[in-house]
Symmetry: D2
Subunit: 485 residues, 4 copies
């Protein structure tokens, strides 16, 4: 791997696929801004005051058009930004080019190798000799992971002189992380300590990353405060649900052009993501079965008219398989062998271990035929029958389409901006300990409110008598914390 950082004429670093796509990216950015009223409102409300002046922000989050609007909102509020993607297929190269040219240091392209991916992550954290970023915007937690692993390795190295050993794990990706830390340690054995010292906090975008954070909090290993953006109502009940309802069929159509009507589909998992996926497939005329481990979610699926089945009972009669669990080993190669010819198998969860890609790749005699990028037909030698894998088992909506649409990402990203502001404003107040926090409900409600006018929605106002009667302030928040929406 020979990668080198490039520089704009103004001296800002970047590494993107094709800088000539910057104009195209800018045009799509212009369109997206109209669809992202929450972010634009943040620019209007806060821009003049430059509240993020002096803050260095590192982002590890799909480098898409929508993220570009987020980045330019952060810079409009005064921040300096370095960015990488959190998935090897999710970068939109024209978005990366526009941002690299105009606004921030970007290290991302569609179709990175895993080694390139972690190189980019390292670059995004590289703020020069005086430490790393002040703030992190994370999605899935890889930037956070790298710092935590880095600190751990530095402590071990200081104590015992031992370097990280890639051969200590069978996980291919983690081997790369350990190599990278090993190589770095020799040059600078305190880099991640300095980073940790400087870091004010992280705001985390997604279920998977949040789960990691809570585990670290419970283990007492969390090194800095974290805001759980995923569990803002205006994030998980919008982006996860309505975003996937939009982007799952979009990905299926772009990758395979298959008619959904009349087909049978299985959605593994009926959380917010699964709910969005199942609803989209049903709306398109497919017959949908759900697999679930949680009886409550299973009963919800029943109430919406879905069959709740075990994978093994439907694996041979299903046309489309979608994993949404956030768990691992959902569809194994032994399942894939039993599938119909040209069954489509894809994952819309964060990591690529929901589908047993390793099992598939190492299956004796299996043949991979690439129809087009991110759409591969895998043929089993015994049967000559094949299955279609999308985006190599990774996030299919970002790999095969353009991810969630701007409007719903505006909700998620407005939460991100508010979280970053909150962490930065309170950096010296001691308000946030090394714990995981959710944004208060009135900010959640504010995010929603910023998105209503664009849709022509008109809120009703409580009278003070009504507010008293239900014991809430006239201006909200309107619901108790445990309310489920």
């Amino acid at each position: 791997m020979e990668l080198s950082v490039e520089k704009t004429s103004s001296g800002r670093e970047y590494k993107v696929k094709d800088m000539s796509q910057a104009d195209f990216g800018r045009m799509e950015l212009d369109l997206a801004e109209v669809e992202m009223p929450g972010l634009i409102s943040c620019r209007t409300e806060f821009g003049a005051a430059q509240p993020l002046k002096g803050a260095r922000i590192t982002g590890s989050l799909h480098m898409t058009i929508q993220t570009a609007v987020l980045i330019e909102t952060l810079t409009a509020l005064g921040a300096e930004v370095r960015w990488c993607s959190c998935n090897i297929f999710s970068t939109q190269d024209h978005a990366a080019a526009a941002i690299a040219r105009d606004s921030a240091a970007v290290f991302a392209w569609k179709g990175e190798t895993l080694a390139e991916y972690w190189w980019c992550t390292e670059r995004a954290l590289e703020w020069g000799p005086d430490g790393g970023p002040d703030l992190i915007v994370d999605d899935g937690g890889d930037a956070t992971l790298l710092i935590h692993e880095g600190v751990k390795a530095e402590i071990e190295y200081e104590k015992t002189g031992a370097l990280p050993d890639p051969s200590s794990t069978t996980n291919q990706e983690f081997q790369i992380v350990l190599s990278l830390l090993r190589d770095g340690l020799k040059e600078d054995p305190k880099k991640y300590h300095r980073m940790k010292e400087r870091l004010v906090g992280v705001s985390e975008e997604t279920t998977t990353g949040v789960k990691r954070l809570y585990q670290m909090m419970e283990n007492g290993t969390l090194l800095f405060p974290a805001i759980n953006v995923n569990d803002s109502v205006t994030k998980s009940k919008f982006d996860n649900l309505y975003g996937c309802r939009h982007s799952l069929p979009d990905g299926l159509m772009r990758a395979t052009d298959i008619m959904l009507a009349g087909k049978s589909a299985v959605v593994c998992g009926y959380g917010d993501v699964g709910k969005g996926c199942a609803s989209a497939l049903k709306a398109a005329g497919a017959r949908v079965a759900i697999t679930e481990i949680d009886p409550i979610c299973a009963l919800q699926a029943c109430m919406e008219g879905f069959a709740v089945e075990r994978l093994e009972d439907v694996v041979g009669t299903t046309d489309i398989f979608v994993t949404t669990t956030g768990n691992k080993d959902i569809i194994m190669v032994s399942d894939m062998r039993k599938m119909k010819n040209n069954a489509i198998v894809c994952n819309i969860g964060h990591f690529d271990n929901e589908i047993d890609m390793l099992g598939l790749e190492t299956y004796p005699g299996v043949k991979k035929i690439t129809i087009k990028p991110q759409t591969d037909r895998w043929v089993f030698p015994e049967t000559g029958s094949g299955i279609i894998i999308l985006a190599e088992g990774r996030l299919m909506n970002l790999g095969c389409a353009t991810g969630h649409p701007s409007f719903v990402m505006s909700c998620s990203f407005t939460n991100q901006v508010i979280a970053q502001l909150e962490l930065w404003n309170e950096r010296n107040s001691g308000k946030y300990e090394k714990k995981v926090y959710v944004l208060p409900k009135h900010l959640d409600e504010k995010v929603a409110a910023l998105h209503l006018e664009k849709l022509g929605a008109k809120l009703t106002k409580l009278t003070s008598e009504q507010a008293d009667y239900i014991s809430v302030p006239v201006e909200g928040p309107y619901k108790p914390t445990h309310y489920r929406y």
Copy 2:
């Protein structure tokens, strides 16, 4: 009012409309049991051990067929039960008769006056000289309210000799409560104190009652422990949502036979109840607008394709109005005057003050034409144009139809049984203070699990590797407390 308690041949007290309907009630009870697998499972699992042996339970909850199955589950577990309804129109007289004849003391009939209603409530709490019930099953909190008001009045009476004064309030219904307390005080100035002493706790069914309980907890006036059944996921996300999705159109059809397709409707409030109502109306082919005060719920409505409007902007063009807010003064008589001829106005929230019935009744020259019980046409003198009010502004699904169907009530009521067991089992352990508690998630999941087989749903089981990966026990609970489903 001349009401007198009657007795069965075995000496059990009751007051119902028509004991000859007991056989019909029993037949419908037999059918309902097949649809209520959670309750029947409770009988199977716990019946032999008689865990409620010795417990006196007072219930104030719509005396329907479904409630009858609940009551007979409580008695199957050993309890002694007295029951009243929590709404003047919601009793199903054949259900009341079957229970009165076979299982418990019932004081309830469809079409009670408010005075009769409170007389019934008092009877249900009347367990003889040695105090009241051990446990209460409450819906809306009227039994709980009566005890709290009773204790308050007794304290005041003891301190100052002052009796409750009905003229101190303009609220017609509260005047009745005060009269009843005043009259009781003279006979027995310690009745409610004895009741409070004996009471182990209450389990509350619905949003409205829960709100009252939290207010009392915050004010420090709550006299005994309470379990908030409403906020079990298997209650509020099922009964409120799917129950109303079923029973709103059922009530509209039975009351008015109106075609929903092509009509315009407004649903006031987009909480769980509003979500169910709006979804049902849309599914039936109506064009639905939502009114909301909460920007998050409003944005959810937008995402589902509903228009979010202010009532004033659509009041003159809408065919069907439904209130679901739990708040008051939602549709005022000034709104009603602007409505189309024969617009239908109904409330599916707990109390009848969402619709300004008082304003309507006292409107000069207004004429009320009863089409059939619970379906009235009110004609305004100026225009000769009329509107149709269902169930006199009260719970239309129980007033005009039969309420929620058995299956979904089985979820809610299995939570009730578990809550009653929990309160009774822990009566001496000190586990529950004078606070409001939610049932733990593993019990919530259990309730769901008990309802899956009936629907042919098959759960997937986690492997222990998968359980470790997502950090949950193999047997659950599977979600963090803040999870919203």
Copy 3:
């Protein structure tokens, strides 16, 4: 059977259940008129001219509130009317009473025996010594059948002296028809000949009756002109489809209170009626399978996300069975024996031979438990397990609920009024031969247009350039005859 005709004070004949329900019927008639803009427009447009002056109309069509508005539209246009129902369970007694008291001779009540049913049909055709009606409004063709069978019997009797022999058929209902003709023949051997001579024509409401008419036309046995109202687009694509979408769940709910969400259902037949039923069940959260013989309809079902199955493959796992085929022997007693306990079996097609009621009734040891009128549980002796049969296998939406709602019946019945006007106006012109006719498309479009304003719909007008471009008149008709909508 001792039935006698009664008379109003004005001397009009009738036989209804309870004349005291006339006021209630009138109130519901008032409400229905607001929902039936097509019929009311006919009164406004044609009333003054009295175009049906002198016409005697016999109707054999469900005696409901909606039909009452039809009848009073016919009388408002000058006709004299006699009416019976076309189904033993479909009469709404308050509607019958209101019409009997105020407007026309009615012979109908809910729960007739078959013998009573045909007695009523005979009465409705009884216009005194100078022949029968001038016009018939028929639904299912029973009035038409009686005249055709009557004429046939009279011819045979004249030729051979032979009387109809009830024992010549095993069909129970046809035995009654033959008995009735036999008894009548002795008194008046030319009654049906006189009737046939006078008759201007019939307008037929439904698929089943239309099928009979086309068969007679093809056999050359049709005795008078017929207008096929069923195949007006504004009839079959509205009443059959949207009417059933409304009234199927209505009937299920009123009869059984069962929760539809989560249940599995089978709809036999995917014509317009089946499409409406399947769509309603799906919308309510049921999982729906279709059975079909026609590959085109089957493929439509697939495209809408329904499973297309054979009854035998799903009979043991289905909760709700609905027949909509217009064919016979769809669900046999051998199927019923394999069903789940308390499976619901019902028919929304015109005749009761879709479900094998005879097989069920004669099954050795079977036990019928009437839960309430039109809701029976049949228990098989071998298993002790039972099924629920609605409306004794007859039209469940009329037997268990109130049939289609007013608005959609206004479409159907406006076609009826226009058909009656057309037959009467052209009675001497020779325009109509002894054939079956469909109303011309511009009248179909007119019926639709009369119903738009009530729903707030605004039509766009073609410019003459646009009309030329697509080669239609500016005022319509807009579609070729073969257009399928």
Copy 4:
């Protein structure tokens, strides 16, 4: 314009964008075959007999992957084929390359100019000196039009020596047709006469083309027999409806990535295409209004819960406009000026005159910004506000996405194959006159039947008793001609 025909090594002519995409096209063809069971069945059933041996077929129909499977079915049955597209943006270049390399003469590429388009059409009809094709597969009727105009011009030229005069029309496209005929006439004044003589017939794919054919039939100007494939049930009720339900959102997403949920949309026209579009938008969470001229279709829209509005009343508040009318002048530039910023305007009807592109292009000061091919933002000078036009006002699903999916096109194209076989088989029998014919119902049912197994659907078989009862053959056809499905 300098266009020249190229040749494959085997000497077959072609003109495509990029022959190197042939392998990619072949891979997608392989996938599509699995989704097109009707066409593959035709190959299996008829292939060996080579029934189209000797037939020259010219096709003018979107040169997509699906069409490629059609072409190779025709060649598998023995035909020789030349092909062009019927829309300047609808060609999929990899499909064109694969067919050009492997199977037939293709003249088509994505993004033709209008002059290139008609050059391609001329090439597809060019079969050498002994006349033109034996059969035509037409879509929209352009190949048929060219022959009819050619014959007309040749007659005029023979009679008067006058050449076609492009300046005689203001229609830009028709000017091109006339130029082309003018230039051709000089070289060969009998070309189209020879073509007409040889031609056995045409099978026409779409509503627009069919309308032209019926007009010519009525005018007596139709030069050869035509089969109306569009009005096969398995075409118009599937491809038009379910095809558009799939491909409208697909086109919107690929072109604009806009979130459909929460947006307001207007669908102009509620025929089969409009029904599919409206249903898709509603399913995606948009609020949808319909514009209609036909009261029956308008009432259908009402029954499905759509608002029926006039364009002028909603033009300023709508986010997405879709025309589906087959008429012209639906959305004028005067409408566009009143639209919201970035409103999306597109057409899914056959021709580009539904949207006033000419008005837009010639609007003083308007600025066109191409975001990407087929997605243009047009900015009005007065407001600086812009609208997004898709596919330059042409068929957006083919211009911006890949058109209808394979499965539904298999229905349409199986009808095409059957129509071509029928015309060819009966070429000497005189069965077909110079008229427009629809395929008989049993063939329509056969097409449906061929597509059921792929979806796992199982047909029920009539018993002979049942078949007699409803007077149909056991094997079908099952419905009368006028049945509307």
